[in-house]
């Protein structure tokens, strides 16, 4: 039964009932309701239990500030925890559950905590569960269970999300009176405008007020204005869209909820969309939050913000009680009293001020007003039953005795208003305390923006409208448009807006002994907690926040923070601006992880690069290894083979006859120009000038610190033309590194660099039969040793296709690398595979490549090096030219680089001849030494070598080259150790006869 629903009025659609479940109960509301308004309409008063003390809590607010009505919405994989019921639109079939209290919110066993409320003071958990430390993991389990709110879904998110980049002249955050007016002014001037509002319809407070504009309900003006804005091509109006982040350079993010308001059956497409907006100008029109008042037991269900009580009446046709007390320190709550009276409730007003314009007007309408009084305490555990009222001296340091009791079932409170300075603070703007307005207002901003309306303390509706128009005009003109005159609608009756600060109401006992006076409902932070923190020496507001939890949680202190600052200021004997605020960070309200991830999930999580031969490898059934963004064939299993069986077979086939692999992922750079030799001499360590055209060289390049950065083959294709290869993962970094030196340090050198990585595919054929294979398919160059020696390059025609043929080897076998246009690569691969059948041609993947090169002691940069390995450490001193300077050379003569006991590349053999060592295993001299055991090296690459019949490994060992023949121990992951022998890193064909064959 919607016992609290009014017969008429509101923006709900009474023709569209919406059934929903709340903790299993079947209830009904209407389309246009929020979950909160529907619950209130049904007379549901308890919606949660408090965080620490498990006190019953009811709905307090009507928007983002709501601390108590934190719900779990939906079931199964798409369930969403911790949504504020005040921001959840009601739809038919909605399922909501409370998130606190066991077995339920109406009867919560842990409410016993409240009886011992005094011991649950600030820092309780820190102080109590510290010792013994070993038991923390026991405590933690129970504390975590009794704390916390909803539950994250366990299954994968079935919904889709998307991102959209947008650009505009003017972005307006907030679609209330100021925002709409700004949009109108900027839109009419012709600017590209985006206006976003978090609610389901534009209008903000205009939808919740009884005020009239130009003699008509304010909602009429909202309707006209939104219609005009929608008709403008240059305006994008986004309802259900929260501007949640404001970053540098006027980059803002908006979370648009596309389908959450619809019954499941009507949902399609993306659930949420994150707009990433680059705006030339920004207008912040987010409005203000009403502050609660701080008095004893101010958290009973039925105690609400005055503005929320009005909103429920005017927007949702819900009267939250029959006997109402309005407790205020300012004029705005008088409208709530009038709204309540009009809705048929009995109303009394308690005003802390001795006199006010509001009181005079209220008395005229017959509402009793107790001026100069305050609510000291309340009665009613599961719902407010009465307030106790006392005379207010104006001095918070004195106690106040309650002398009057007023029965009521709703208490509407108003402690004044705080502008929502969140986005301006995120933008880097400063907040300034305004003594007249008694609130923080946005100060100077480092970005191109302005704040309009109540967001900067313009409390009256006409001021908001005028301010919005002005901001819209200003933003449009600053982005280059000529503003046009726009007239604001006339506000028919303007309410007075004076206030007197009242940060906490004293009780008959001192604050530390009286019943709880809550500041932050969600975290159960009370006046006594903040004062205790101050007494214990916390004087910085950020520390107090962390000690007392003030301002944490889903509402991030939107409701209670300013009251908390004021109480802290009083305790410290400082002013509020001296205490200041905590830091406002994105997101303004919680955003789902799904929205932040957007489309970057599943197969679009990260780009996948494939070679031109990818389909050939897929057809061959190869699993792929991810190398950088590349997917490379890992091994080519035959039926029944696992990785090791396949790799053993591939290795033996290559060594004994013929292997073929796709090496296309190597980085390839074309280097041309009159200064190409000079440029490369400075970058690479070997002598380039001495290379003759048609020859290749293995080259390494060093960082400025002298450490190995990348390696590859360099071919001289002409007097002024070179071709470089890089490692697969280093391709982009090397090109950037070369361009960096060329463009910023040596612009006088005439050299052009062009990436050919994608243009050329590279097919390596390796093994004693590789030459025969090429001759068989038709090659127009002489392939014998005299005509085409090891480490040379030729332009050739192979099987009728133009290729660049390299005689290089990364396996130690006689081998050729065929470079050709990626367009021709699949045809070449198939030709080679077919022609190679008679030699048992065996495709091999990255794993076999790793084994073959390790048998030869060839390092892989990034696997065997880690940025701290110099070429000397890696045994490459022969590559370092003594005749020239090159990048990193000087660093090699630093004392540290010249140390004898640096870690050096060695071969490592397990002494038992069977154990394959763990890659990364630490090498020690004495595994039984006292901990911490001194470490003298580690294993980088480790494989079983089928050719040799035993495992091999490469390691880095301190002073390793002089330790050959010695025994060390490799630590295994289970703490055991294996004896190993240090040997030469070249295990196979040490004289390198095979590649020169």
């Amino acid at each position: 039964m919607q016992t609290n629903r009014l017969d008429t009025g509101g923006r709900i659609d009474r023709s569209k009932p919406a059934g929903f479940r709340f903790d299993g109960r079947k209830l009904q509301g209407y389309t246009g309701d929020t979950l909160a308004s529907a619950l209130l309409a049904n007379g549901v008063s308890i919606v949660g239990r408090s965080f620490k003390l498990h006190r019953p809590r009811g709905i307090v607010g009507s928007g983002a500030e709501e601390p108590n009505a934190i719900m779990q919405i939906g079931n199964g994989a798409s369930t969403c925890p911790n949504l504020r019921a005040t921001q959840v639109e009601l739809y038919d079939g909605l399922i909501a559950r409370t998130t606190k209290g066991w077995p339920g919110v109406n009867y919560d066993i842990a409410a016993i905590n409240d009886v011992f409320g005094r011991i649950f003071s600030a820092g309780f958990y820190y102080k109590t569960f510290m010792r013994p430390q070993s038991l923390w993991h026991v405590y933690e389990k129970f504390i975590r269970r009794s704390a916390g709110f909803g539950r994250a879904p366990a299954a994968a998110d079935p919904d889709k999300y998307e991102h959209l980049n947008a650009h505009c002249d003017v972005l307006i955050a907030g679609g209330g009176p100021a925002g709409l007016a700004a949009a109108l002014a900027a839109g009419r001037a012709g600017a590209r405008v985006i206006i976003a509002d978090e609610q389901n319809e534009f209008g903000g407070n205009l939808l919740a007020t009884a005020a009239t504009l130009d003699g008509a309900p304010a909602s009429d003006w909202v309707q006209q204005t939104t219609a005009e804005l929608s008709a403008m091509d240059n305006v994008t109006a986004l309802p259900r869209s929260t501007v949640f982040g404001y970053f540098d350079s006027n980059f803002l993010t908006i979370a648009e909820r596309c389908t959450d308001h619809l019954p499941a059956i009507e949902r399609s497409g993306s659930r949420e969309r994150v707009w990433r907006v680059r705006a030339a100008q920004v207008v912040l029109a987010q409005g203000a939050f009403e502050r609660p008042l701080v008095f004893c037991n101010n958290d009973r269900p039925g105690i609400m913000l005055a503005s929320a009580v009005s909103t429920y009446i005017n927007r949702y046709a819900v009267r939250t009680g029959e006997r109402a007390v309005v407790f205020t320190n300012n004029d705005s709550a008088y409208q709530t009293a009038i709204d309540l009276q009009r809705a048929g409730a009995d109303v009394a007003i308690v005003d802390s001020r001795r006199s006010s314009a509001g009181a005079t007007a209220a008395i005229a309408t017959g509402i009793p007003v107790l001026s100069g009084h305050v609510v000291v305490d309340t009665v009613g555990r599961k719902g407010i039953k009465a307030v106790r009222v006392g005379r207010w001296s104006g001095d918070a340091t004195q106690t106040v005795d309650a002398t009057i009791t007023i029965d009521c079932d709703v208490l509407a409170m108003s402690g004044g208003w705080s502008p929502a300075v969140h986005l301006q603070s995120q933008a880097g703007g400063r907040n300034e305390w305004n003594d007249e307005l008694q609130c923080f207002v946005p100060g100077e901003s480092p970005q191109e923006n302005r704040v309009a309306g109540s967001g900067r303390g313009k409390w009256s509706l006409s001021d908001c409208l005028e301010d919005g128009l002005g901001a819209g005009k200003d933003a449009a003109s600053r982005s280059g448009y000529t503003p046009v005159d726009v007239e604001a609608p006339n506000v028919d009756t303007e309410e007075p807006a004076s206030m007197e600060p009242l940060w906490r109401v004293p009780a008959s006992q001192p604050p530390d002994r009286c019943p709880k006076q809550f500041i932050d409902y969600q975290n159960d932070t009370s006046v006594a907690d903040v004062r205790l923190a101050a007494r214990e020496g916390y004087c910085n507001v950020e520390h107090v926040k962390r000690y007392t939890a003030l301002g944490f949680g889903t509402d991030q202190g939107k409701l209670g923070n300013i009251n908390g600052m004021a109480v802290l200021a009083e305790s410290l004997g400082k002013s509020i601006p001296e205490v200041g605020t905590t830091t406002f960070r994105p997101a303004y309200t919680p955003v789902t992880f799904g929205a932040l991830a957007g489309e970057n999930v599943g197969e679009l999580f990260d780009p996948v690069r494939t070679t031109a031969l990818h389909e050939c490898h897929e057809a061959a059934g190869a699993p792929f290894e991810v190398v950088g963004q590349w997917h490379r064939p890992w091994y080519f299993p035959q039926p029944g083979e696992d990785l090791h069986a396949a790799v053993n077979r591939e290795c033996l086939a290559t060594r004994n006859s013929l292997g073929i692999m796709d090496a296309s992922t190597l980085g390839k750079i074309d280097v041309r120009g009159p200064d190409a030799v000079e440029f490369l001499e400075r970058i690479y360590t070997h002598n380039i000038g001495k290379m003759s055209v048609g020859r290749c060289a293995y080259g390494v390049l060093l960082g400025e610190d002298g450490m190995l950065m990348d390696d590859g083959v360099m071919a001289r294709l002409g007097e002024q033309r070179f071709y470089l290869t890089t490692t697969t993962g280093g391709a982009a970094a090397v090109l950037s590194w070369l361009e960096l030196w060329l463009q910023t340090e040596w612009p006088e050198l005439d050299v052009f660099l062009t990436s050919l990585t994608d243009q050329f595919s590279t097919i390596a054929v390796a093994g004693p039969n590789s030459r025969r294979l090429l001759m068989k398919i038709g090659c127009d160059v002489d392939l014998d040793n005299a005509g085409f020696p090891f480490m040379s390059v030729r332009d050739a025609e192979l099987a009728g296709m133009p290729v660049q043929l390299f005689r290089v080897s990364f396996s130690g076998e006689l081998a050729f690398e065929i470079n050709l246009s990626s367009s021709d690569a699949p045809r070449m691969w198939r030709t080679l595979m077919q022609a190679g059948e008679e030699f048992g041609i065996t495709p091999y993947g990255t794993e076999t490549m790793h084994v073959l090169r390790a048998e030869k002691g060839f390092v892989i940069i990034g696997q065997d090096t880690d940025g701290s390995v110099s070429p000397v450490d890696a045994g490459m001193s022969w590559l370092l030219s003594k005749e020239k300077d090159f990048l990193g050379k000087r660093s090699l003569s630093r004392p540290d680089c010249a140390r004898e006991d640096r870690k050096q590349l060695v071969g490592v053999l397990s002494a038992d001849g069977t154990t394959v060592l763990r890659e990364g295993a630490q090498l020690v001299e004495d595994p039984h030494a006292r901990q911490p055991v001194p470490m003298c090296g580690h294993v980088m690459s480790s494989y079983y070598s089928a050719c040799l019949g035993h495992p091999i490994a490469l390691g880095l060992v301190a002073g390793g080259r002089s330790k050959k023949g010695e025994t060390l121990y490799a630590m295994q992951s289970d703490g055991s150790s294996t004896a190993v022998k240090i040997v030469s890193p070249v295990f196979y064909d040490p004289k390198s006869e095979r590649q020169n064959d």
Binding site: H163, N165, A237, C258, S270, P607, R609
Partner: protein, 173 residues
């Protein structure tokens, strides 16, 4: 509606100094078309030529003409400090047509593609769905050309296929 297709074209990367008239004249003569010299613009006539930098251009032409053009450019510019590379095997061109295309691209590209800022003849090197692309507006409809490295093209096509099939749930008012 959005249409996209992979287009088989020839691609040539051309390096040389825009300030060297010998180079500019020589290239123009072979190409039969002037090199765009203003940043982020392209010229279209016999070929499409994209400005990539003060000393770098991308020539897009019919697929069977690229090899010939490379030979002619090499002959005409012999002895000069230039670099001419046939990238036909290393690049893939996609063309997208439709009024929805700017919004489609906006889902994973940060450029402002408003027609007043990125019209026919404009181009830019940018990111699209985390891949590097060369993007040009080549027709009024509008028609956009996206040139991407071959190794990324399957990924980008997958992205395009997903995006053209899934539109957002509710249309923003």
């Amino acid at each position: 509606m959005t249409d996209f297709s992979r287009v088989d074209l020839g691609h040539i990367n051309l390096r040389g100094s825009a300030e060297d008239s010998r180079f500019v004249d020589g290239a123009t003569k072979v190409l039969g078309q002037s090199l765009p010299l203003a940043a982020n613009t392209l010229t279209q006539s016999l070929h499409r030529i994209y400005w990539l930098g003060p000393d770098e251009w991308q020539v897009v032409t019919e697929s069977d003409r690229a090899a010939d053009l490379v030979r002619q450019l090499e002959a005409a510019l012999a002895g000069q400090h230039v670099a001419i590379n046939d990238l036909s095997g290393g690049q893939v061109a996609l063309q997208l047509t439709g009024t929805d295309v700017p919004e489609l691209l906006a889902r994973a590209c940060t450029l402002d593609l408003h027609p007043s800022l990125f019209g026919v003849g404009d181009c830019a090197q940018s990111g699209l769905a985390k891949t590097n692309v060369l993007l040009g507006c080549i027709g009024e409809t509008p028609v956009y050309e996206i040139i991407v490295r071959r190794s990324y093209s399957e990924y980008l096509l997958r992205w395009l296929r997903q995006k053209t099939h899934s539109r957002a749930g509710s249309v923003s008012s």
